[in-house]
Amino acid sequence: MMKSNLLKLQQVEAYIGQFHILYDITFEVPKGEVTVLLGRNGAGKTTTLRTVMGLNPASKGSITFKEQEISSLKPHMIANRGIGYVPEDQGIFGDLTVGENIRVAMKKEDQVTTKRMEWALELFPDLKKFWNKPGGQLSGGQKQMLAIARAYVNENELLLIDEPSKGLAPIIVEKVMESIQQMKERTTILLVEQNFLMASRIGDQFYIIDDGQTVHDGQMGELKEDKVLMKKYLGIS
């Protein structure tokens, strides 16, 4: 059966300054699923997300979102097409309160958006509790939750989430992952994750990026069985 693809990258190349970071990134993100990008440090996963977002424009190749080319658009236009982004460093506005951090993301203050916000706050009760606290004073986990909630409040059809487990204590990681799992029922997610255990629990399908190229893909279930592949691209030997 043909799945409908929300996002599609074909032979995307990108540079950061004079560094050639992405050589050949090709993958598809089916609607309603969680697609995980795996790969070692420095493989180009973060750059891939930034390239989709237009923060680090692609030099070659095509990126289509809902069948429309977006590779030459500016970041804000891409965001307005319906893509939410949770960057690696979470991008919390430190001097703004939690509430302001969420409000600045809300394009409209209509019912739909408010409903979404309420749902996100149910998911992360901490945010409600610290509503008037500056974002910079939150703990790492709370920042991550805020960043995810912020990306969710608009009617985004696709969320790009970059390593939500990074630098968090195991229990917090668990909480964040749970919330992503719940979000999965409402939106499509493209996730970058190094924590394989976590990725395998919430991911439907995966792509492995190595040295700026997509080198392997498949269903998450298959990967769990394939110890050789795992070690080759993700492990240390």
Binding site: Q18, F19, H20, G42, Q194, L197, I236, S237
Partner: protein, 256 residues
């Protein structure tokens, strides 16, 4: 085994996030040590602490048994700690030779000489050429650094490090952002360095084959902490390390 650099309880935190957490290690003199660890483990931060780009919130650093925790980058370079950067950081509009010569001349007494023409310092030029030969960059001596390919810039970066004639070399991901064809050449250069006995090399890398091949000892950082250390073979076998890489630090039973 004589230690060249030692850290005691070294920690640094950025706004509540502890990037390096009480790391106490000893790096043996004249050996090849590698530091590995997943993303965000604090490797580069650790290097920044050693070379003085950052100052620790807690703990101390010793170089040849003398405390250097409070010294500046410049002072540490003069003592003998040289480092390469993850982002190539050469002088773009100077020639390759000039780049290296700047490094050579920094160790000498002519630093403030503003009268003599630089060509009068033949010995520096000679030295620079020798180093360029070592890193296989001789034929590019007169090109501007900005015109080099990325891999060549990396080599130049290493050449400048060599020119400093420091006893300790800190190499931060020398293969990062390189095309696949360029990697072997860098490995060759590093191998050659390893063969010169009077140097201590510390390497941060992700390319495991390279680490296995070169290292005498491997240190594993995880969440800013020292997770394991040992010979490369031991590290590969180490279960904790394996699961750290695959994200299973907290094993599956605990979660379900």
């Amino acid at each position: 085994m004589e230690a060249i650099i030692q850290t005691e309880d070294l920690s640094i935190s950025f706004g509540g996030h502890v990037a390096v957490d009480s790391v106490s290690i000893t790096i043996p003199s004249k050996k090849f040590t590698s530091i590995i660890g997943p993303n965000g483990a604090g490797k580069t931060t650790f290097f920044n602490l050693l070379s003085g780009q950052l100052s620790p919130t807690k703990g101390s650093i010793f170089y040849k048994e003398e405390e250097i925790t409070k010294l500046s980058t410049t002072e540490r370079t003069r003592l003998g700690i040289g480092r390469s950067f993850q982002i190539t950081n050469v002088f773009p509009n100077l020639t390759v030779l000039e780049n290296v010569r700047l490094a050579v001349q920094s160790q000498k007494k002519v630093r403030y000489n503003m009268i003599a023409h630089f060509r009068h310092f033949k010995q520096f030029e000679q030295k620079s050429y020798e180093i360029l030969e070592k890193v296989f960059l001789l034929e590019k001596a007169d090109s501007k650094a900005v015109n080099l390919a990325h891999g060549e810039k990396r080599k130049l970066e290493i050449a400048m490090l060599l020119a400093l004639e420091t006893e300790l070399l800190l190499l931060d991901e020398p293969t990062a952002g390189m095309s696949l064809e360029e990697v072997p050449a860098i490995i060759d250069v590093i191998k050659q360095l390893k063969q010169e006995d009077d140097r201590t090399i510390v390497l941060i890398e992700h390319k495991m084959d390279m680490i296995m091949d070169l290292s005498d000892e491997v240190l594993v950082l995880f969440h800013g902490e020292l997770l394991a250390k040992g010979k490369p073979e031991e590290i590969v076998q180490n279960e904790t390390v394996q699961s750290a890489y695959l994200g299973g630090m907290y094993d599956e039973k605990q979660l379900t």
